[in-house]
Structures are given as C-alpha cells and as structure tokens.
C-alpha cells in the first residue's frame, strides 16, 4: 500500500579516508619527540637553620667524595679512579661494623658528595652513577638473598621493595658549597 520510495545511496564516500588518516599520521610523525625522561633522582638536603645544630655523625660513618676542578675524584682525600668508586662505596656501606674505618651499619652510612665550582658536569654524573650503581647492586643482592627475585622485578610501592629500601637506604648528602 505505502510503497517505500527508493532512496539515493546513503553511503559516505570512504575513499578519501585513507588520505585524511595519512595526513594526520604525517603531522604526528613530524611533531613527535621521543623525550628523554630518564635520569638520576636525588633529594637535596633542606637549608640548615641556625637554631638546630646538625646531628652529630661519627667519622667512620661518613664517606667524603670530592670531585675537584680537574675532574679528579677523591675519596676521603685520596685520589680514586671512577671505576673503583662503586666497589669502595659498596665496601663502605656493607661493612656492618667489621672494619673500624668503615660504616657501622648500612643505616648509618652517609655518602657525602662535594664539588668545586669548576667541576665538569659529566664527571660528576659519572661519579654519581657509580654511587647509585653501588646501592643498586647491594639492593639486588639483598633481594636475591631474601626473596630470590631481582630487585628490579619488585613492584614500585610494594611491601617487599620497601623492605629492601629500608635495609639499604640511600643516604646521599650534597655538601654545602664553599663561599665565594
């Protein structure tokens, strides 16, 4: 009775779809910058106030690393090559009171880093990398001993990770710069 009238084609032309998509693709390809968002994390010490004196630290619990203007690394005033820093730091932290010159426990051990105004930045980063590497290896070892899995496989914010971090806390201090 009510015969449907024939309609025109209801299709959207699809042939240009690929062209549009390509255009957008090229735009995003051009503007993309794969950013470097990796780095060495550190927490700066707060500005000391005059009313509270700094907590006393025993000499043996402090490891002084100085990077001087010539790019030389000195550990407790003794020159040291950068590749040896990692072992020195590891021995210092993981001493558990055995050697009377090294730290009493990993919890007490503090690595203090001092620089000169003319220290080359890349030497500083290399040295810091070694110190971080020492902590990373100690944590890895502790994680293998305790849980049998590498430290890097422990999830961020998990209880196990926190436990390992508590065993070897990163106590890295940036020394006050010299005046002038």
């Amino acid at each position: 009775m009510f015969k449907k009238r024939g309609r025109g084609d209801a299709d959207i032309p699809m042939s240009s779809l690929a062209d549009i998509a390509f255009l957008l693709l090229v735009f995003f390809l051009v503007v993309t910058t794969i950013d470097v968002d990796t780095g060495i994390g550190l927490v700066l010490p707060p500005i000391p106030d005059d009313t509270t004196p700094p907590p006393p630290v025993r000499e043996r619990n402090l490891m002084n690393i100085l990077v001087n203007a010539q790019g030389m690394v000195l550990i407790n005033e003794q020159p040291a090559a950068i590749p040896t820093v990692r072992e020195r730091v590891k021995a210092f932290i993981d001493n558990h009171g055995v050697d009377p010159d090294l730290s009493e426990s990993p919890d007490d051990a503090i690595v203090s880093i001092k620089t000169d105004r003319r220290t080359p930045y890349n030497v500083y980063i290399d040295m810091l990398d070694e110190v971080m590497g020492a902590y990373e290896e100690l944590r890895h070892q502790a994680s293998m001993d305790r849980f049998g899995v590498p430290y890097s496989s422990l999830e961020q914010g998990s209880e196990r990770r926190a436990e390992i971090q508590e065993m070897y806390p990163k106590k890295i201090s940036i020394a006050e710069p010299d005046e002038g």
């Binding site: 060495i40 550190l42 980063i125």
Partner: protein, 148 residues
Amino acid sequence: MSKFQKKQANTKQGVPTSAMPDVVFMLLIFFMVTTVLREVELQVQIDYAAAENIEKIEQKRLVSYVYIGPERLGGGRLGETRVQIDDALVDDINAIRNIMYDKLMEQPRLIVSLRVDRDSEFGIVTDVQQELRHAGTLRINYSTRRQV
C-alpha cells in the same frame, strides 16, 4: 599476426588496499598517544650526559624542567652558559627561588628535572641547587640518557 603473444597471468595483480585505512589509523593512534607536543622553545644547547643506573620519571605532570647550557646565538654559535626555565632565560639567578616556590605551591609533589649540558661546569648547577633548596623544592632529577 603476432605469433608470440604474451602469456597473460590469470592471477589478479594489485595489492589489496581495503585494509590500508585500518593500518594507517593504528599507526596514527600510536603516534597520537606517544606524542608530547613541545611546550618550550629551547634557547640553550643541551647535550645530555649518559649514565647506567637511571630511573624513569613515571608521573610526568609532577615534573618541572630547568635547562642549563650554552646559549644559542644566531648562526650556530654558542654563548655563555645560561639557565632557562619555561620559555625564558633567567637573568637573575636569585629569581629562581620565587619561580620555583610558586610552582611548588601549585604542585606540592614537584620534581625538578635538571637538564644540563654535559660540558657545563658544576658551579652554575650548584647555584641553581642552592636556589631550589631555598624554595623548598628538594626532589630533583639529573636528566641523562641511557648509556649504551
């Protein structure tokens, strides 16, 4: 007349193109997701240092960048080492304190990422760090590439 007729292959020639939009869209979506639009125009030259024991910054919205490197002059020449925050070069080092304090008020869990040219001297980094300490922004990160 032509005795040597070309043999015609029976198979159809031509690449099927019907799936092309799908492929292109997939690539498009990938690049859209990974793209970070450049928000600052760098006025200093930065060549990152490399390190092995590095960590990724997961929460990008917490990060604020400080660029330190030789200033780019016209014609590929490089000038003095300068500090750049956001879009502007910082003339007065002591102004960093206020800039960073304001940022910290907006984002209490701020991480300052120091993007320093590898050939810089550490003195200027020390100055910036002292300012950051005064501002109370203590979490920092030295941007480095992964060592290969």
